[in-house]
Point group: C2
Chain length 323, copies 2
Amino acid sequence: MADHSEKHVTEDDKATPAKMRKLESGDAAEARDNFAGFKLIKVLNENTRNKCIFVHGSFEGSDDDAVVLMEKTPFDKQSISAMLTSTTDLKQVMQNDIYGVYTSSPPPDLNGINTTIIYPATDRHIMKYSAQQIYLINETAEEYQEITLPFIESQPFSLQWVYNILDKKAESDRIIFEDEDTDTGFILLPDMKWDEKLTENLYIIGICHKRGIRSLRDLGREHLPLLNNIAKKGKEAICTKYGVKENQLRVYLHYQPSYYHLHVHFTHVNFDAPGMNIGKAHLLLDVMENIEMQSDYYPKKTFTFTAKEKDPLYLKYKAAGKM
Amino acid sequence: MADHSEKHVTEDDKATPAKMRKLESGDAAEARDNFAGFKLIKVLNENTRNKCIFVHGSFEGSDDDAVVLMEKTPFDKQSISAMLTSTTDLKQVMQNDIYGVYTSSPPPDLNGINTTIIYPATDRHIMKYSAQQIYLINETAEEYQEITLPFIESQPFSLQWVYNILDKKAESDRIIFEDEDTDTGFILLPDMKWDEKLTENLYIIGICHKRGIRSLRDLGREHLPLLNNIAKKGKEAICTKYGVKENQLRVYLHYQPSYYHLHVHFTHVNFDAPGMNIGKAHLLLDVMENIEMQSDYYPKKTFTFTAKEKDPLYLKYKAAGKM
């Protein structure tokens, strides 16, 4: 897996236990048949929309910590017929005219829960899966110069993996489209969140060839040819390859981005992709219109974005007495 | 329930079967013990993120249609201990070092599925719960004048329920805060999507007293005092009443709005509220900054928004050869 799968971490990703596959130190635990001996210490986090819960506990007879990540499974079109039979019990909650509300209980094998048991778990795991308070930061042009830019420059955000892609030293087999122009060119490739199976979950990243454009903050009139080119040729290439219509593609940038080399997100309009909220995503079309209206729109703008209480950038704003 | 619960329908709402409680014609069906005799006709829609599925079928011995809406239940903090015991079977999928991936099968009574059976269902129900293609519309200033505005004016969008609130003829017991000024005043009340129980799901609407401002499109410099007032006093009132900090409130407007009388949404930053995506939501702070920069920013702007293939406004754009 390329390095940038680690960079594309968005808020919503934390609620997807299945993403975590990385090896760490510690001995392999033996398979368990059930949760016998489990002691709950604390519910770390939950998401009622995604139907996830993250729990901290331990197993009887050991002082080691355990973290349990559970996520209800999506319905399976293939097996829904098997669920809608006499083996699924119904308990009525209410009936109002033609509307009957029930709790249904399908056989357990048709209603499994995706579960990851991390055992023994470290403090780092417990922190990773704990709920964090989220705050909105309003970053003025001055605060960008005084707090955010020095923070970006002080961080060891290596962009080497991006340059490896642009130089065809890595992932060249994944490239969907390339315009090689050094000023207006870019490379399109599938985002790590997309398995390239369903067009309705399409998620493609366009990375510009030109180096040194950190983010939206750096954009001005001189970048309009680049932005226009990414918008036009990016959409065309995706429409040609995947048969998606132009008016079915959301095209946007993130602020703050997850890495500071200008890149554009293309997602299918039917896909409820993470990172499309206000306070994070900015439509490329709006960006171009704003710059056409006023070249220094983005250098001057007050950007609102969300940050978690343990995010280093949030801590910088807090230390500066801004939060 | 007030009329505007019907108006606050967003794309995401369709995936929440439990919302539907309204009476319609037809005889009450008797309670069912299970899905015996159910025949699947078609899966109408599903949402893998929310874990929902909507199914069209029928019951043996009848020609009537049935629509079944199912949604996996969120985990319950109170009963999670009961789930993590020896009665929940685990089936191992893989083990990698300290990470064990399983499918767990709790006892059926701890893992119910919220289910609504609409029976007999009409064609209207089937259409309502069917997947619809979504498109992005880019509405220029000219297209607003030529297509959208005539459409708004031709529609029987009654705003009487809004005026009833503003005149205290309805829902006056729900008002959280009021500024009575006829130019800059507004009323705050909880959105119908919020049950007022958990502050983390806080969703409050601010409705301006001044009539005739349809949407963001109509805003200019003359409305800055109104917008500033809603932003400032709205946040203060919410912070005072609910103990939420100012930097934990998202404050935004929708375009297109669900009704054409200017209103502002306040939601808790931890709440994954529907309708916060780009192409729908616009941060009030951005709106004020844009207007300060250029008074006719919004009348002139090209707005991007999503529409479903059966939305009347989408059909107008299609009829005009724009899609």
